[in-house]
């Protein structure tokens, strides 16, 4: 059908569309970076005492002075820094070890298949799941009680929300490992990994050493930006820190939200100053990390020159398998735990399962779930579709003008992921209210686009750029216009990656907490904002219900992305290899 429409596109329209296409890259940059730039400017003003709407008209360092007077501010800042860097280091270490030790094995195939579903689980749902697992009354404690621990009732200890932030680090690691694994796998395709590793093996190096010496140096440059994004996210996450992070004092990001929502409007200035502090901390951490990269590279070269073979690495390979399994199990069992709690009737400690399963919780709260579920869906579908449209337009422009992707464009794409959300969302909220924008669902969709566009673009651009250009030449030599090539040849052939990119965009949108909360002005309720809002209450059954719904929300999108091409092209064997 598309074929028939495309062949009848009038010339006039085609010419106008061609002109529009040229604007796509600029439009995409504006959609993606405009809010970030406006937001940072909007944060800078109040941070330096300029917020006329609240009567603050004497610029100066007052807000910073007030910020540093807040009790425990040093501890909050240190927590952000330490948990962020810690989570990134551990996630990267597990990722590299898993790839180095297990690539090509059967376990690795299983890990690869689990990646997409694990990635699709929103951060908040994974954090709730982990909190339930490690809680004093959680499955882990129940498993060892009372026979090993002697506990007849849940012990009075702090597991989630421990003061050192270990639970927070764990919650970040289980979600960032799948992300880094996916980025590493994508990058591996572009390095000569197999032969380089083989060269090392044949010189007598252990499998892990062969990979770290031979493959990693070329690979790291390609996963550097994703690693930086993980670092920036881990340092500034709000929802994971609210669920798993310490409370007295909380990490900086959580305190920023508290100040922002405080009835004392004067604390808005402190919040803005805090957001600037957070951006500075993330900037400093990125610089520190870059320094660390140089140090590690230097050390690696010296080690390599030493010639030690590290042949006996079997134990390390087992460890890598265990770590990968543990990390995946934490998310999967966590979600399962949410599900069991949502159906639980009476559930005594230390029973592994509830005495009774009941539909009562769902019957009572199911109706309340419907409205946020629909809102989540509308926002997600709108944001993912718009992002896909922009990405297609940009990639098609790139193709028609024979441009090559530059490292500068990649940095631009990652910018929204490197700037802490708190840093510009405050300013954006303030600017939006000052400019009198209606802050409803449309504004939320626009803000989601800031984060959805990069992921959709990254997801689609790989398959798009490796698509066999001879297909396009063959079609053109049959007289097909560039538009017909796009709609009748390229997009149908790229249907599977396109739907996957849409599903990724949908999942990213579903997971957004802070943009929905701040830009929706509390009026736009999604599954994520509702679930996180419940975290303070501690009603396990209700959290389980909302957490499960939130975790399940992205799955239909991924199922559709798998099923639709398989059904449409079930009689086209040549389409199964494309991906």
């Amino acid at each position: 059908m598309i074929e028939r429409i495309a062949s009848r596109v009038p010339e006039r329209f085609a010419a106008r569309a061609e002109a529009g296409l040229r604007l796509a890259p600029l439009l995409t940059l504006t959609v993606m970076l405009g809010p970030v730039a406006a937001g940072i400017l909007g944060t800078l003003g109040p941070a330096f005492g300029w917020l006329p709407a609240l009567g603050a008209e004497t610029p100066g360092f007052g807000p910073f002075a007030a910020l540093f007077d807040q009790p425990g501010i040093g501890i909050s800042a240190r927590l952000s820094l330490v948990t962020g860097i810690g989570a990134t280091l551990i996630s990267l270490a597990i990722t590299l070890l898993v790839v180095a030790a297990l690539q090509g094995t059967r376990i690795f195939g299983l890990i690869e298949r689990l990646l997409s579903p694990l990635l699709a689980v929103p951060h908040a749902a994974a954090a709730f799941g982990l909190a339930f697992l490690i809680a004093p009354s959680g499955w882990i404690a129940r498993l060892f009680s009372p026979w090993a621990t002697g506990w007849e009732r849940p012990p009075d200890i702090l597991t989630a929300q421990d003061p050192a932030g270990l639970a927070l680090i764990a919650g970040l690691v289980v979600k960032e490992v799948p992300f880094l694994l996916l980025m590493t796998l994508a990058a591996l395709g572009q390095t000569d990994a197999r032969r380089r590793r083989l060269a090392g093996l044949c010189l007598g190096y252990g499998p892990i050493a062969a990979w770290f010496y031979g493959v990693l140096p070329g690979l790291y440059a390609q996963i550097r930006l994703p690693v930086y994004a993980v670092l920036a996210y881990s340092m500034s996450t709000v929802e994971v820190a609210m669920i798993l992070g310490p409370t007295t004092p909380a990490p900086l990001s959580v305190r920023l939200i508290d100040w922002m929502n405080d009835p004392d409007l004067g604390l808005r200035l402190v919040a803005a100053a805090g957001a600037i502090l957070q951006m500075a901390l993330v900037g400093a951490a990125l610089l520190l990390w870059r320094g660390g990269e140089i140090g590690v590279a230097h050390l690696g070269r010296r080690l390599a020159a030493g010639g030690r073979r590290f042949g006996g690495d079997a134990w390390l390979r087992t460890t890598a398998g265990l770590l990968a399994g543990l990390s995946a199990a934490a998310v999967i069992l966590g979600i399962a735990g949410l599900g069991v709690w949502s159906f639980a009737g009476l559930w005594r400690f230390p029973e592994a399962l509830p005495d009774t399963l009941t539909m009562r919780n769902w019957a009572r709260h199911g109706d309340g779930l419907l409205a946020p579920a629909i809102t989540t869906c509308i926002i997600g579908v709108a944001a993912a579709s718009l992002a896909a449209l922009l990405a297609i337009a940009c990639l098609e422009t790139e193709h028609r003008h024979g441009e090559r992707p530059t490292s500068r464009s990649l940095w631009l794409l990652y910018t929204p992921l490197l700037v802490p959300q708190t840093g510009f969302l405050f300013g954006l909220q303030i600017t939006a209210s000052a400019a009198g924008f209606e802050r409803g669902i449309v504004a939320v969709i626009a803000t989601h686009l800031v984060f959805v566009v990069p992921y959709v673009f990254l997801s689609l651009s790989g398959p798009w750029r490796v698509w066999d250009e001879r297909q396009s030449l063959a079609a053109a030599c049959l007289g097909a216009s560039p538009w017909r090539v796009l709609f009748a040849v390229r997009l149908p052939m790229l249907l599977a990656p396109l739907l996957t990119a849409l599903a990724v965009g949908f999942a990213v949108s579903v997971g957004q907490y802070l943009p929905t909360l701040l830009i929706g002005a509390g009026r736009v309720a999604t599954l994520t904002t509702e679930a996180v809002a419940l975290s303070a209450g501690g009603d396990r059954r209700l959290i389980g219900l909302y957490g499960l719904a939130q975790a399940a929300a992205p799955l239909p999108a991924f199922a559709l992305a798998l099923a639709l091409p398989a059904i449409l092209f079930r009689r086209r064997r040549g389409m199964t290899v494309a991906r």
């Binding site: 074929e3 062949s7 024979g402 066999d468 001879r470 297909q471 030449l473 063959a474 079609a475 053109a476 030599c477 049959l478 007289g479 097909a480 216009s481 560039p482 090539v485 009748a488 040849v489 149908p492 052939m493 249907l495 092209f569 009689r571 086209r572 064997r573 040549g574 389409m575 494309a578």
Partner: protein
């Protein structure tokens, strides 16, 4: 063949065509291919054959410099976009669209001036019959043999009613027994359609079978 030097002569005319990359000259050729004639361009790989084809189809990558003109039936097509040149192409791989059935692949090439579902389907079926592939319209191209795919690709190119056709080593992936058969089928169809054709190959048998003039992509002055 009557050699007509005026601009309005029918056929494909490469007029002092040169292509270079930086200071590196890759192509320098001047030739007129009459309707029904097959001009063979021969040379080892890296001799500029694919650059010549890119120049004629208008798909030279940025960075290449081209001088001279390409004329088709007297019209200057040098600066036209690929899809408006009226130049058909058969590639080394058949490049059938994997998401379309065999019939839909052919219909994709069929000129839009033929209207109506039934009329179009009839033309497609007739083309399949001519290629000895009658009744295969609903088939998945991935289920065809190499020789069948080759013939579909040729029929698809012909249904687009090009005014000249380029053959880019179209037989090199076929095994020897099939090769002769597909080659003579292809040449017969092209001669019957009275198309000027340029065959690019490094195979002497192909060149001999084409039976026309043989040139190098770069003729030294």
């Amino acid at each position: 063949m009557n050699e007509n030097l005026s601009d309005s002569a029918p056929g494909l005319r490469l007029e002092d065509l040169t292509v270079s990359l930086g200071t590196n000259g890759l192509v320098a050729i001047g030739a007129t291919v009459d309707p029904g004639e097959i001009l063979t361009v021969m040379g080892p790989s890296g001799s500029g054959k694919s650059t010549l084809l890119a120049a004629i189809t208008g798909t030279l990558a940025p960075g290449f410099t081209m001088t001279g003109r390409v004329l088709l039936d007297g019209e200057d097509i040098t600066d036209r976009p690929t899809h408006r040149r009226g130049i058909g192409l058969m590639m080394q791989d058949d490049v059938l669209f994997p998401h379309l059935s065999v019939g839909a692949n052919l219909a994709f090439g069929l000129s839009p001036t033929i209207r109506g579902h039934a009329a179009r389907a009839a033309r497609v079926e007739a083309a399949l019959d001519a290629a000895g592939l009658g009744g295969m319209a609903a088939r998945d191209p991935a289920t065809l043999s190499g020789g069948q795919r080759s013939r579909v690709a040729l029929m698809r190119a012909l249904l687009a009613e090009p005014r000249a056709i380029l053959l880019d080593e179209p037989f090199s992936k076929l095994d020897t027994s099939l090769r002769t058969q597909i080659r003579s089928f292809t040449f017969e169809q092209i001669t019957a359609a009275r198309l000027p054709a340029i065959l690019v190959t490094h195979d002497h048998e192909d060149a001999a079978a084409a039976g026309g003039r043989i040139m190098a992509p770069r003729t030294e002055a």
